[in-house]
């Protein structure tokens, strides 16, 4: 299941270690997550649901969905998709809601380490990194935290070259952009980085913003600053169909993580649901990893992503079935088959059009929704905006939310692209530094340039849709279409 050859990527694995699943040794490599190591060993069932005891496996692979919770070294509710292996670790499937071991003493916030900065950036993807880089260059002391073990957000698993203009990294592969941004952030002395650190709340305390966080599942940290930039990205959407929780059904991003970040094949035969850019790009990436893609099904009557992404998988023989949906997954404890059908104009399956695909993986690429939980908790006004793919924080053109000093950027401000996430991050980073009186007015011009670039990028048919949504997010007021 482990990839050794790839047309784009090279996999440098860490030292070999051993973890124990149900007491049995499992080979793993330092630097990879528990879920990755288990997957490479063919283990798909990670836990069982609380009521129906249904087997559950990996779904999002970026710490957002809780489908991978396991008992690790006796501690339950560990997100095994973002927790790295350690030699000798014991890992057990979790059954429903598990209890902390007797005598466990969770740490308390009164003992938490305190980290101070001018600006706290939550999220180390394209938006957060660009925000940190630009806020730092504008003179701010920045601390950036991310709950994943590596920087770059979803860029780290993108083997395709980006669109846009060359000054915005067009023609450069996502994995390379991640490296460039990471290097830029790391070489700035006024940027401090905390990985494997989850923000769990944002509070106001006097003049300070207080971001409470947990590092490495164990240590509590208080981040204090005068502004916070929330760049927490997005989460995969799910669609209803029979057995949609069967292990082997993954969000598209999880497959990219397994395959492109850690070099582990998701399976042998894949059905992709959704012909937006994510589904189309995933199909191509699977081919690059030597995995067979049986078909892409899309409920809409047309391809939603860029035509060029469709054309490049179509000419390699992958059927794209528009006007089709998945009816159900079948299999015991893991996916063995997928049943799809054609839809009529009222979105109802047409009887007699069922097709069965013998697959061991079903990839859901049915859209993303902004991760707004922290913004919501912090009291920012939230509004449903269909064009931005879900609930978003109301904000102004400087990316500042309705809570003074809390900014938002990237997919957490509305689902779009990494290119726009980077530009929004730049806007938010500079804006926060300006708001705090740290940046001088020359930075205003830099910010306006990023705003102009955003407008240019969004001036086509795809972007116009987003602009409609942004208009609503800027307007505030009552939710509605």
């Amino acid at each position: 299941m482990r990839l050794t050859e790839h047309p784009v990527l090279r996999f440098d694995r860490g030292k070999e270690v051993t973890i124990y699943f149900r007491g049995q040794p499992v080979k793993a490599y330092e630097g990879e997550t528990i879920a990755t190591a288990l997957h490479a060993a063919g283990i798909r069932v990670l836990n069982y649901s609380a009521n129906e005891k249904r087997p559950r496996g990996l779904f999002c692979a970026i710490g957002k969905c809780s489908s991978c919770l396991m008992v690790v070294n006796g501690v339950p509710n560990v997100r095994t998709c973002i927790t790295l292996v350690e030699d000798g670790m014991t890992v057990e499937p979790q059954h429903g809601k598990a209890k902390l071991p007797k005598g466990a003493k969770p740490p308390e916030f009164k003992n938490a380490k305190v980290v101070k900065a001018d600006i706290v950036v939550i999220g180390g993807g394209p938006a957060g990194l660009m925000a940190a880089i630009h806020a730092a260059d504008a003179g701010a002391r920045v601390v950036l935290l991310d709950e994943n073990p590596m920087l770059g957000g979803q860029l780290v698993k993108q083997t395709h070259k980006f669109f846009g203009k060359r000054e915005q990294f067009a023609g450069v592969r996502g994995v390379e952009i991640a490296k460039i941004l990471e290097d830029e952030a790391r070489r700035r002395e006024n940027v401090e980085i905390f990985l494997e650190t989850s923000a769990v709340g944002i509070f106001q305390e006097g003049d300070e913003k207080l971001v409470l966080a947990v590092r490495d599942n164990r240590e509590l940290i208080e981040f204090r600053g005068r502004a916070v930039i929330v760049a927490t990205g997005a989460m995969e959407k799910m669609i209803p169909f029979e057995n949609n929780d069967l292990p082997g059904i993954y969000g598209a991003g999880a497959i990219q993580t397994l395959m492109n970040t850690y070099g582990v094949k998701p399976g042998d035969r894949v059905l992709i649901v959704g012909a937006g850019n994510v589904g189309l790009i995933l199909a191509y990436q699977l081919l690059q990893a030597g995995v067979e893609v049986k078909a892409i099904v899309e409920a809409m009557p047309k391809i939603g992503g860029y035509f060029v992404h469709a054309a490049k998988v179509r000419r390699l023989g992958i059927p794209i079935l528009t006007g089709h949906t998945i009816l159900r997954a079948e299999g015991r404890e893991k996916v063995e088959r997928a049943v799809v059908a054609q839809l009529d104009e009222n979105w109802r399956p047409i009887p007699g059009t069922e097709k069965v695909f013998e697959v061991d993986v079903i990839a859901l690429a049915v859209g993303l929704r902004p991760s707004i939980e922290l913004l919501h908790q912090a009291g920012c006004q939230i509004k449903f905006v269909r064009e931005l793919s879900g609930h978003v924080a109301v904000r102004d053109e400087w990316m500042e939310t309705t809570v003074r000093g809390i900014f938002v950027a990237g997919d957490s401000a509305g689902i779009e692209e990494a290119t726009t996430a980077m530009l929004e991050g730049k806007v938010a980073g500079i804006a926060a530094a300006l708001r705090l009186g740290i940046a001088d007015e020359d930075w205003l011009k830099e910010m306006e340039k990023a705003q102009k670039d955003l407008l240019e990028f969004r001036s086509g048919p795809f972007g116009r849709h987003v602009l409609e949504g942004i208009k609503k997010a800027l307007a505030g007021g009552v939710s509605g279409e």
Partner: protein
């Protein structure tokens, strides 16, 4: 909503649809030297082809406009094929009763010069066999994408857009 173009229903474009959107290079031009032909019919925010073109042959007033190649200005250098993030640029060159198609190739194994490969059309169907006559490996490509040139029967010039490497054990 306007009617959905067939290429967005199908995921591939036919030469007939394509040449309603961009002009087809003349037979004379196709015989003179390789010419770049973008199969990029949709307004998307992307401009590297215009930015890399050394002869200013690609016009695109804003990144969201379609790339339009001035076939007379195109020198057939293949940089657009190398850089295009959508892998949507090809070069076509008629030589005698053959056509040479230059295309991106981002899979393993990369074919070798002189290797015979299976020719695939835009829906991935095998339509014949052809010989790879040039390979620009990834490390030499200006766009991080290997490109290959494959010789095909001239009647397949507007059909073949991919190849499959088949190596018997």
């Amino acid at each position: 909503m306007s009617e959905i173009p067939a290429y967005l229903r199908n995921g591939y474009i036919t030469p007939e649809e394509l040449f309603k959107i961009i002009p087809k290079p003349s037979e004379e031009r196709l015989r003179a030297k390789p010419v770049a032909v973008p199969e990029c019919p949709q307004e998307i925010p992307c401009a590297p082809c215009r930015e890399i073109c050394p002869s200013g042959a690609i016009s695109m007033p804003t990144p969201n406009d379609l790339p339009m190649v001035d076939y007379e200005k195109c020198i057939g250098c293949s940089l657009c094929v190398q850089i295009c993030p959508g892998l949507a640029f090809f070069m076509v060159h008629y030589v005698g009763d053959r056509a040479r198609i230059t295309m991106p190739y981002e899979l393993l194994p990369v074919p070798e010069r002189g290797e015979e490969v299976v020719l695939l059309n835009r829906v991935g169907e095998p339509v014949g066999r052809g010989k790879v006559i040039t390979v620009v490996p990834r490390e030499k490509s200006k766009g991080d994408t290997p490109i290959i040139t494959v010789e095909v029967p001239i009647e397949l010039a507007w059909e073949v857009r991919a190849v499959k490497v088949e190596r018997g054990e």
